[in-house]
């Protein structure tokens, strides 16, 4: 065995470059408007449609060490929070470019590490001021409005769209949007969404205005000149809409009101719908389903606990999704109980079982003759000999099946749910004797049935006794599903329910099979966002507010360290006496600026992706303008809060629309977001500090002559 060792940062840091190029692939997933991607396997010509970072990295071949670390980081974020991966991926790219820039400017590695990590800490401490407490939303759940109606969720994307146009256009726009996004997802192989001209008509005009205006001041003036258009351009940018609103407080005489003078409104969010709309980030149809699921769970919980007042907790483990590709979108719904798909040949059986409570057995593993519990080692060296000839080779399975059936008959069980596979022969036999056996049941579903029906999960059917059998389960045919091209089997969906079962099935449908996965992912992302928000009882002001604030905070830090000199060192440098500690002052502004550039890139990509700007450069100018305002105002946090409060304060004149109180804010979840930042920076700094790659078990001959340059062998 030979070990090869490769120095990876002689002059250019290969690791960082790899990170930024990997991250570039996920750029379009940032923000609420996601462009899908086709990933095509050259060899077997299979393709898959993806629109999330996790799916992207799953499909990419990242065998290099850095790629592996990136995948690991994204998966860790996804496994822990199920959200924030696009932010993570983008920031990895932005900050690895930032770190590379610092290296290029001659900043010592240890200083980059220490200043960047401390600066991000400082940002994380500061953004607390943009947190919004979420209070007792469940208390108001029953009485308040529900998340429904197309107007409401259209408003979610483009909060101000109805101001100049009224409701009619909203409906139209939504339809257009749906059509556009669908056709795009299916037919456009790559690239950015093609915008329908009607949809963004008013914006185009302003874009032209903006293009002609050279400075922020003239931009402002031109915007002031054409109020209608100005409003609509801002509305299109969900993620940055608040920042464009400083014109809204312009007095009739055209004098802008001093921004910092306005007192920020005290923020709190105590309405579930408001929270949901704010957290939907473009996934409105998904969030609508989440809303229904939460309400259903709340109602279930209310029935369970009766009069006692326990706080309601959103239990995401008791939400189950059932995907039915091929059905139109409108069939998506939320139902209590468990909905699953079975072969249409069971129709007669189900009809027989319908309308009566039946008894159930829950099997933890497979329900096959050969299945043994985990940890059981089968001995290979046992041979069974028989003295008589009457036993056939295949007799043992038959015997086993008969035995299982006997047990089911003995305990009068008509339904078996198994977590693993079920023997085909057994299913047949059971169907003959009017018993339904369903395999591959989700573990949480099993748990819910165990609780509600009183059944105890068993590993073997021999374990079944009276105490293990649950009762009171109802089976009904829920809906028949059209012919599925993939399976060539007609199937139908059935619903299993028990009195008081704490389980909600969300049925997701899509006429396009390729979109099914995306639909399911979006649903879960929305569900987890709401889950984290309710669990943490706080959210961030969203739509880029926190990132914008971090950007301006870093700028202020950088200026302070130029002006006032060193105020204490950071990281391990804090304790060290190394010369690095005393030269922090010299390099800090550079590093902070590079880190801030990362945020800037994040925001401009966000704006660009949200389709308000024709180029990232243009979006960048827009951000720069607000950054200046924020710095001038003296307190970036109150600036952001101010801008935000204008969204639904009384600035809007009441004559425009009576639905204005429904205009939602955009929210973001707290810990998952901050963790994504940290993970991104950790990964970048880990790679930055790596100077060589040690490949074990590599033979000298395995490396061809071109590559072997730069390898050292031990």
């Amino acid at each position: 065995m030979v070990m090869a060792c490769r120095v990876i940062n002689k002059r250019r840091h290969m690791g960082l470059q790899q990170l930024s190029s990997f991250a570039e692939t996920g750029r379009t997933f940032l923000g609420p408007v996601k462009s899908s991607k086709f990933i095509i396997d050259e060899e077997c010509h299979e393709s898959v449609l993806i629109s999330s970072t996790v799916r992207l990295l799953e499909s990419l071949d990242l065998t290099s060490a850095v790629g592996q670390l990136l995948r690991e980081a994204v998966q860790a974020q996804n496994n822990t929070y199920r959200t924030g991966t696009s932010t993570l991926l983008f920031l990895v790219g932005a900050w690895s470019s930032a770190a590379e820039e610092c290296l290029h400017l001659g900043v010592p590695v240890s200083l980059i590490v220490s200043v960047m990590s401390e600066a991000l800490n400082s940002c994380i401490e500061e953004v607390v001021s943009l947190q919004v407490p979420v209070h007792n939303v469940s208390d108001r759940m029953v009485n308040t409005k529900t998340f429904s109606g197309p107007e409401t969720f259209s408003v979610g994307v483009y909060p101000f769209l109805q101001i100049p146009s009224g409701t009619g256009l909203i409906q139209k726009e939504r339809d257009l949007k749906d059509v556009a996004s669908q056709s795009l997802a299916i037919y456009s192989h790559s690239g950015r969404p093609v915008k329908s001209p009607q949809l963004f008509r008013s914006q185009d005009k302003v874009e032209a205005d903006e293009n002609t205006s050279q400075t922020p001041q003239t931009l402002k003036n031109s915007l002031l000149a054409d109020t209608r258009c100005r409003k609509s351009v801002l509305t299109h940018s969900r993620h940055f809409s608040r920042t464009g609103n400083n014109q809204w407080i312009s007095k009739p005489d055209g004098v802008l009101e001093q921004l910092s003078a306005a007192i920020p409104k005290t923020y709190r969010c105590d309405d579930l719908v408001e929270l949901e709309v704010g957290l939907s980030h473009g996934g409105h149809s998904s969030m609508k389903l989440v809303d229904k699921a939460v309400r259903l769970q709340y109602r279930n919980a209310g029935m369970q606990r009766g009069s006692c007042t326990m706080p309601f907790l959103f239990d995401i483990s008791r939400i189950f999704t059932c995907c039915l590709p091929g059905l139109p979108e409108t069939f998506s719904c939320v139902c209590p109980g468990y909905i699953t798909v079975v072969s249409i040949s069971n129709t007669a059986l189900i009809k027989e079982l319908q309308n009566q409570p039946i008894r159930v057995v829950l099997v933890e593993g497979d329900l096959t003759e050969n299945y043994r519990h985990l940890g059981f080692n089968k001995s290979a060296s046992i041979k069974t000999v028989s003295e008589s000839l009457k036993v056939q080779q295949d007799g043992s399975e038959e015997l086993w099946t008969d035995h299982v059936l006997q047990v089911l008959i003995k305990f009068n069980v008509n339904l078996v749910l198994a977590q693993g596979n079920v023997s085909e022969r057994l299913i047949e036999k059971c169907t003959d004797s009017k018993r339904l056996v369903i395999g591959s049941v989700n573990g949480n579903v099993m748990q819910a049935f165990a609780e509600a029906s009183g059944a105890v999960q068993v590993a073997y059917i021999t374990q079944v006794n009276e105490n293990c059998v649950g009762s009171g389960v109802c089976v009904t045919i829920w809906r028949s599903i059209p012919f599925d091209a993939a399976d060539r089997i007609n199937r139908m969906a059935i619903m299993l329910k028990t009195e008081g079962i704490n389980l909600v099935t969300v049925v997701l449908t899509s006429p396009v099979t390729a979109q099914m996965q995306t639909k399911e992912d979006t649903f879960w992302t929305c569900a987890y966002r709401l889950y984290h928000a309710l669990k943490e009882q706080k959210v961030f002001l969203g739509g880029g507010a926190v990132e914008f604030f971090c950007l301006s905070h870093l700028q202020i830090l950088a200026e302070q360290s130029v002006n006032k000199g060193n105020q204490g060192c950071s990281g391990w440098l804090h304790d060290t006496s190394s010369w690095l500690a005393s030269s922090v002052t010299q390099y800090r502004p550079t590093v902070l600026k590079c880190l801030a550039n990362g945020w800037h890139r994040y925001l401009s990509t966000l704006l660009y992706n949200t389709a308000s700007y024709s180029s990232e450069f243009e979006a960048g100018t827009f951000i720069q303008h607000h950054l200046q305002n924020a710095t001038d105002s003296g307190s970036p946090s109150s600036y952001v809060l101010n801008e935000y409060s204008k969204l639904n304060s009384g600035i809007l004149n009441s004559d425009i629309s009576d639905k204005l109180e429904q205009i939602p804010r955009v929210y973001d979840i707290v810990t998952p977001k901050i963790e994504a930042w940290r993970r991104a920076l950790d990964l970048v700094l880990l790679v930055l500090q790596t100077d060589s790659e040690i490949i074990t078990g590599l033979e000298q001959t395995q490396i061809n002559s071109q590559e072997s340059e730069g390898f050292l062998f031990l």
Binding site: V2, M3, I8, G15, T63, A65, Q68, L69, E72, A73, A76, Q77, P108, V109, S110, E364, R372, G375, F376, N377, K378, S379, S381, I382, T384, V385, S386, S388, V391, Q447, V456, V458, Q463, N467, S570, G571, W572, H574, D575, T576, S577, S578, W579, L580, S582, R678, D682, L685, L686, Q689, T690, D691, S692, E693, I694, I695, T696, G697, L698, L714
Partner: protein, 570 residues
């Protein structure tokens, strides 16, 4: 058909150290370990190039375990470092770098190996006796009534491993946890003979470091399904425990090579299950409350036990077996035959707990000298590094109990020791030479090689192009930015020495470490108040460093002594 092949002759090389290839590989290895050293050390990505897991590390333990070196000389080096690490955890890189430096420096001199080895040994004993003496100027006695020195030691170990990716706050948090975990394993009523308990590190990956915690007792991870099956735990003062190290999964013990022939209708599985259920009956009749099994328990046996209100927890894992048996007082049961009542033990309390997304079964023993350190970190590779570092820190604390003193870190011990040796060899060479048959010139040469090996080891702490200074009073380590003006007022540029003990307030006659200096008497005997006043000291584990020094010198001697390498090519 067997084929007979003639044996190849063995391969013999003389003077292995003079070969260019050996020199080159030795310098690659030196480059790797040197670049890892210290808090600013660079990291290495270790992987197999085929998509296996990637380990990012700067620790010798992880590095050397994965380095398949081929040359016998490198093997000697890596093996002795690994041995040192397995005994003392800390100081692996120190040992490796010092050994490489010594070999390299001595080779340049060109003295005979015998002389070199003899003198190296003399210098080593000079070092060890100085470090062990009361007069030693780089040693601090540990006062166990305060946590200050111990916390500094733990912090120094944590900061020296950058791949843990900890922020200042997180370092504080983890240091406190490690110290608490250490205190929890010290028995309360200690006589003159202390037996330390054990702290078990429980992984909780992908969570925030700040969520890490320490709990007395043992945590056993269980699945949610298993958790639901555990009945509500009744209140009691004590629970009777049976601990199995044998699998209760109902499979047949390995039958070896032959076949077992059974006639049709006989089920061996059922026979084993019957035996298991008999065992279960005995457990129930012996009023056992809790059955723990290292491996798997058959679902039917579990069901049986549950119906008789016995809690069964399986898949406990081999790691907690020893502490489990120790704190519960059970004797692990290794057979399915009847159980002797003396095998049972007891615990004070049981409960279930949830941390992150994992469920745990928490056992609280009567006499707790076992604790669980729930360790969180964001990503896998940083978690692995943090775990190793925590183990090192815990081990260093244990070693400190045995030998209650610590050495100054941050390069100060090395430069101080070099200054001391320079002074000794120039002022009283006779005392060192005695009647070895070596000349004073030889001693001067070797002493210079030895000292510069120590000093360049200290210099390895610098990775960003800074310069190293040393002072003419204490012989401590000072770092300064490169290209500083030649005539400067040093106190303005410097802040504190490497270990943090002295500040640049007084005039200490600094000079560059690489420049020639006149020998001076470094100040011995650390004043107590000096250590108390300094808030943040960088410290090293005394025992580990002393052993590292010995291992490095002895390994270097061994390598220098090699005159032939004979390889069996068959």
């Amino acid at each position: 058909m067997s084929r007979l092949e003639a044996k190849k002759p063995s391969f013999c090389r003389s003077e292995p150290l003079t070969s260019e290839r050996v020199k080159a590989t030795l310098s690659v290895l030196k480059g790797i370990v040197t670049s890892c050293y210290g808090p600013a050390g660079r990291l290495k990505q270790l992987h197999n190039g085929l998509g296996g897991s990637v380990c990012t590390t700067s620790q010798s333990a992880a590095l050397l375990a994965n380095l398949p070196v081929t040359h016998p000389i490198l093997k000697i080096l890596t093996t002795s470092v690994q041995n040192h690490v397995s005994c003392f955890s800390d100081g692996g890189l120190f040992t490796a770098i010092l050994c490489c430096n010594l070999v390299e420096n001595v080779q340049r001199i060109g003295l005979t190996p015998t002389t070199v080895i003899k003198l190296n040994k003399q210098l080593l004993s000079l070092c060890t006796s100085y470090l062990k003496s009361e007069a030693c100027g780089c040693r601090i006695p540990v006062n166990f009534s305060s946590t200050h020195i111990l916390l500094c030691l733990v912090r120094s170990i944590l900061t020296s491993k950058p791949a843990c990716m900890l922020t200042t706050k997180e370092i504080d948090h983890i240091s406190t946890l490690i110290l608490r975990a250490f205190l929890l394993i010290i028995p309360e009523n200690a006589q003159d003979h202390i037996i330390l308990g054990k702290s078990i590190i429980v992984p909780l990956k992908h969570q925030r470091v700040i969520d890490s915690t320490v709990l007395p007792g043992i945590l056993i991870e269980i699945s949610e399904v298993q958790l639901m099956k555990i009945l509500p735990i009744k209140k009691s003062d004590s629970f009777k425990v049976a601990l199995f190290c044998v699998s209760l999964s109902g499979d047949l013990s390995d039958t070896g090579e032959g076949n077992v022939v059974v006639s049709y209708g006989v089920s061996l599985e059922n026979a084993v299950l019957d035996q298991l259920l008999n065992l279960g009956r005995q457990l129930v009749s012996d009023h056992v409350d809790l059955v723990l099994c290292q491996k798997v328990i058959h679902p039917s046996l579990k069901q049986f036990l549950r119906t008789h209100h016995v809690i069964a927890v399986d898949r406990v894992g081999v790691a907690v077996m020893e502490p489990l048996s120790k704190v519960t007082g059970t004797r692990p049961i290794g057979s399915l035959d009847s159980i002797s009542p003396s095998s049972y033990g007891s615990v004070k309390d049981l409960c279930t707990a949830k941390f992150g997304f994992k469920h745990f079964f928490h056992l609280i023993p009567n006499e707790a000298t076992v604790c669980s350190l729930l360790l969180c970190n964001r990503n896998d590779t940083a978690w692995d590094e943090l775990k190793l570092t925590c183990q090192t820190a815990l081990h260093a604390l244990q070693l400190t109990i045995k030998e209650p003193c610590v050495l100054l870190g941050g390069g100060c011990t090395e430069t101080h020791l070099a200054a001391y040796i320079r002074h000794k060899t120039s002022s009283e060479p006779e005392g060192i030479l005695r009647d070895d048959g070596c000349t004073q010139t030889e001693l001067q040469l070797i002493a210079e090689a030895f000292c510069s090996a120590l000093e360049s080891l200290a210099g390895s702490l610098e990775h960003d192009g800074g310069e190293i200074l040393t002072d003419g009073k204490y012989g401590h380590f000072w770092s300064v930015q490169a290209d500083s003006p030649s005539v400067v007022n040093w106190p303005d540029l410097l802040s504190r020495c490497g270990c943090g003990l002295y500040s640049s307030q007084e005039e200490l006659s600094w000079s560059f470490l690489r420049s020639a200096r006149l020998p001076f008497v470094p100040q011995t005997c650390l004043p107590c108040e000096a250590t108390d006043s300094a808030s943040n000291l960088t410290l090293d584990c005394f025992t580990a460093k002393l052993s590292g020094l010995q291992v490095a010198v002895e390994t270097a001697n061994l390598i220098l002594d090699l005159s032939y390498v004979i390889e069996d090519k068959n």
